[in-house]
Symmetry: C2
Subunit: 138 residues, 2 copies
């Protein structure tokens, strides 16, 4: 499910932004998220493709952000997961004699696009550098 995956991706990237100086292992990230390392590795592969993280292999390897936390926003994260739009209309055979039925796909497509735009505009305003300000430094 993309929503849980989005939350996990934000968690992982926030952890990497918070611990900028160190490489982090997928095992450590999995502990922080409280999930299976396999879930984290699958996610890291998507985040690498989207150029948000860089992985160094080997014994002392690990993951780090590819950019500064103020250059990554939650729209980048959302789009990296190629989510299915939750408001996207399904194609259904319309009732041909009913003008409302025949127009609904185009009406709901407009609503879906508008909702998606509003969501992405908000997510774009949320940078990782803002999110880590809310974490107490121990």
């Amino acid at each position: 499910m993309v929503n849980q995956q989005f939350a996990t991706a934000v968690h992982v990237l926030t952890a990497l932004a918070f611990n900028r100086k160190d490489l982090m292992s997928s095992d450590l990230l999995a502990q922080s998220v409280n999930t299976n390392p396999v879930v984290i590795r699958r996610l890291l592969s998507l985040l690498t493709k989207a150029s948000l993280v860089t992985t160094t292999r080997g014994k002392s390897g690990g993951v780090k952000l590819s950019k500064d936390p103020n250059q990554i926003n939650l729209k980048d994260v959302y789009l990296a997961l190629s989510p299915v739009d939750p408001m996207a209309p399904r194609e259904k055979s319309p009732l041909k004699e009913c003008p409302v039925s025949c127009s609904m796909y185009s009406i709901m497509t407009k609503v879906s696009v508008g909702t998606q735009k509003a969501t992405l505009k908000y997510l774009e305003s949320q940078k990782l550098s803002d999110l880590i300000k809310k974490i107490p430094k121990s």
Copy 2:
């Protein structure tokens, strides 16, 4: 699922707005949506509770909008279905030693609330009276 239910609710209310002069039966609405009348009746019960539609019982009965189409917007429709916020964070036991883990629930709650607000603001701007303008009059 609320997303499909939302699309169905918008379809039903758009049909009622387009055919304002007539009462419509749940069977006719079901034909237009291409779904089971039981689905429509369950939905009409929620829309009635939210004061969006009025049902007249009996042989010549049916459903109509309770208000003018320019007084109903898609936020009203969305909230009538009491949807679960798709971005809402799940409560997970955080890793106590990890400040990121301990902060994620509050961070994701803020993201969820912000996304929900942005979505509702867009939906509020979309009135039924606007939607029916896109339907060709035969």
